[in-house]
């Protein structure tokens, strides 16, 4: 197979992998503050995409829809925190696992009833015509995914390091009991992390919809891969998810090329099993030493 084709497949796969990484980053945000994960994260991606599409169809320009879509995603994140997570955390139970799945199922049914089960195109002013960069065809849409994913992750990381609220976030992530003794409200920080996680889901939805179309099942395949990425990279790995996401996406494309297109899903699953067997904290995760 000529190198240009291999490169093209790896690049296209890697760009899809960035979206997995972004959804995985959403898992990380809530895990950091509360050690909980929203298993309905894929539904947040999907509902935010549908709401943005509805706003676009009312005639609002794309650039006005983006902030509204993100705001809606953040609100949805807060809804998940209030309905599925808060009580379970207060009672120190693992109830959030089931509850977040149930809230996700609720969003799924609601979307089916409100918007129907069809896949619909998502109009965008970003050009979809291919551009040739170093012998590889890339569309404007794919570049927008690259820029969007890195930008939103960068902004959130800067926010965590440079602002007071962000420092509270980091403090709760490091040691929530100690942070509470210092006067940081852990419950507000958990709310903040869920809002950010919802916002990240909305970014993923808006970035990926023009490529994949919008439909109730648009995120169901994506979410499993994002979970693999989060676990393989480690749930506290920060930018590690980007690297793992890109590698996983590229591997998927190469597996279809060399082994056969029926084996596309295999690399993600193999990586997940390997990571769990060899390095349960993830490739970039910190192993925790628990002091007794």
């Amino acid at each position: 197979m000529p190198f240009s084709i291999v490169a093209q497949i790896a690049v296209s796969g890697a760009l899809m992998g960035l979206v997995y990484a972004l959804v995985a980053y959403g898992f990380q945000l809530t895990y950091a503050t509360s050690k909980s994960i929203n298993f309905g994260q894929g539904e947040l991606v999907m509902v935010s995409a549908f709401v943005s599409l509805t706003l676009i169809n009312t005639g609002l320009p794309y650039w006005a829809v983006v902030p509204l879509g993100l705001l809606f995603g953040a609100l949805l994140g807060l809804v998940v925190e209030r309905t599925a997570v808060r009580l379970a955390l207060e009672q120190k139970s693992e109830g959030w696992i089931l509850l977040s799945i149930i809230v996700g199922l609720f969003f799924f049914s609601a979307a089916e009833n409100i918007w129907g089960r069809d896949d619909r195109p998502f109009p965008t002013p970003i050009p979809s015509a291919p551009i040739r960069i170093l012998g590889v065809e890339v569309t404007g849409l794919e570049i927008s995914v690259l820029v969007g994913v890195l930008a939103i992750m960068g902004i959130i990381e800067v926010f965590k390091r440079k602002t007071l609220m962000g420092k509270a976030f980091e403090a709760v992530s490091a040691d929530s009991d100690a942070a509470r003794l210092m006067g940081v409200s852990a419950s507000h920080t958990v709310m903040l992390s869920y809002a950010l996680s919802g916002l990240v889901a909305a970014v993923a939805g808006i970035l990926v919809s023009p490529i994949t179309t919008v439909g109730p099942t648009m995120a169901s395949a994506m979410i499993l891969k994002a979970f693999s990425v989060a676990v393989v990279a480690g749930l506290d790995s920060g930018f590690g998810v980007v690297l793992v996401g890109v590698v996983l996406g590229a591997l998927e494309g190469l597996a279809s090329l060399y082994i056969g297109s029926g084996w596309r899903e295999a690399p993600g699953l193999v990586l997940l099993i390997l990571a769990l067997a060899v390095r349960p904290t993830g490739v970039f995760g910190k192993s925790v030493i628990r002091k007794v």
């Binding site: 197979m1 000529p2 084709i5 093209q8 497949i9 296209s12 796969g13 899809m16 089916e112 129907g116 089960r117 069809d118 896949d119 619909r120 195109p121 979809s128 291919p130 065809e137 569309t139 490529i211 994949t212 179309t213 439909g215 099942t217 648009m218 169901s220 395949a221 998927e252 494309g253 190469l254 279809s256 090329l257 297109s261 029926g262 596309r264 899903e265």
Partner: protein
């Protein structure tokens, strides 16, 4: 007083049962991803029923009876299909069933109808197994009498046309693309089978697949491109077909996309946009007013259901013609008894002038070694359609002229 009221209710109920109507059930997915086909099929059938009823109904013996519609939404779910079929099989006085879009629903439900001898015309579900399940198999003989008929161009015909199109274009190397569902797998087998039958003129350079929900098809497309495929013969459903058309445009791979009839669905046409132009697929009806009959049908449909484009013209026209054929069988049987209607369907004396074709003896007596006895469509009732700017048009002017001539007669 209460007892009297109860008695009155009972009386009125029996009166409804004895009411002079022909009970016909319409089934299909009226919500969800397959809804364009289900709704169009149902509405096409309803249009025919409304016309029949407006003319006073069907002559059955000495009386003219109107058709009473019973509607059931199977949501394209196999288990719903099985439940609905059980309900219909137990319904007193049911004359027949028309519908089904999904092969899985047919496989789950039709056995209940066959058991109770309820006549069903399947339309527009095209999967081969819906009918071949009734054939003799080694050690398991098929039923001697069959109440299930089909009114759709089954996948066997469609695969033959797809391969024929590639051969007629003098292509030598093709890629076969199919999704990883039963539908895709059986389509792939049908196409490979047809390549062999039509003289092995096509070399399959790549055989690719994908899962439902995949949207990055770069690897499959580039492999086909690198290996020199001159066309992609494809079996899948709308959203993924659109992802492939969009991917081909992006990667500058401009070869014909020829495949099964989902290439005519709105979820392909709309999601692929300009990249879908030129895609070819077998059709039984094109939404173009080339004959007075087609013109009247299209206008009536648009007016009755308030649309400017029929979501799935093939489903609508088949639903319409299936009702006409069913009505002709009721008239010939002179009865609303489903078994008598079945016998009449197997031996229709009068031709039925449908919107798709003039149907002369569409079915014959069931033979468990020959599935075509209960299949209405042959190669000559199917034509190639082509996507052109958001609509499906005739791919070959010759077909258009041929069908227009029929209307002129």
């Amino acid at each position: 007083m209460k007892r009297l009221l109860g008695l009155l209710l009972c009386l009125s109920a029996t009166q409804v049962l004895a009411a002079d109507t022909i009970k016909l059930a319409l089934t299909g997915p009226y919500s969800g991803g397959s809804a364009p086909m289900g709704v169009s099929g149902r509405d096409g059938s309803k249009l025919a029923i409304a016309e029949i009823n407006a003319a006073g109904g069907i002559q059955v013996g000495k009386k003219k009876l109107k058709i009473e519609v019973i509607e059931r939404d199977d949501e394209a779910k196999n288990e719903r299909g099985a439940l609905i079929a059980q309900e219909l099989a137990a319904m007193p006085g049911l004359s027949g069933v028309i519908g089904s879009v999904n092969t899985g629903v047919v496989m789950a439900g039709d056995k209940h109808l066959q058991e109770k001898g309820i006549t069903k015309i399947i339309t527009p579900a095209a999967g081969s197994s819906s009918m071949t399940q009734w054939l003799d198999r080694p050690g398991v003989p098929g039923p001697k009498q069959l109440s299930i008929f089909r009114f759709a161009a089954h996948d066997g015909i469609q695969a033959a046309m797809v391969v024929e199109e590639a051969v007629n274009r003098k292509l030598t190397k093709v890629a076969i693309f199919a999704d990883a569902t039963n539908y895709g797998a059986s389509g792939r087998d049908d196409m490979l089978d047809q390549i062999k039958k039509q003289g092995n003129k096509l070399e399959v350079v790549a055989s690719e697949k994908w899962a439902i929900g995949d949207k990055d098809m770069t690897a499959q497309i580039l492999k086909a491109k690198a290996l020199g495929a001159q066309a992609i013969l494809i079996w899948g459903i709308g959203p993924e077909l659109a992802a492939i058309a969009n991917g081909m445009a992006k990667l500058g791979f401009q070869v014909p996309l020829i495949g099964g009839w989902p290439l005519s669905m709105s979820n392909f046409v709309d999601n692929a946009g300009a990249n879908g132009n030129g895609a070819l697929m077998p059709q039984t009806f094109i939404e173009e007013p080339i004959t007075p009959r087609a013109k009247a049908f299209i206008e009536a449909y648009h007016k009755a259901f308030g649309v400017t484009r029929i979501p799935s013209p093939v489903s609508a026209a088949q639903g319409y013609d299936a009702v006409l054929i069913f009505a002709a069988a009721v008239k010939q049987a002179g009865s609303t008894n489903s078994l008598k209607i079945r016998d009449a369907l197997e031996d229709l004396k009068q031709p039925v002038d449908g919107v798709i074709a003039l149907w002369k003896k569409p079915y014959s007596r069931w033979n468990p070694t020959d599935v075509t006895t209960h299949e209405a469509f042959r190669r000559e009732q199917t034509i190639m359609g082509k996507v052109q700017d958001g609509r499906v048009v005739f791919a070959n002017e010759a077909d258009k002229a041929r069908l227009a001539r029929r209307g002129a007669k």
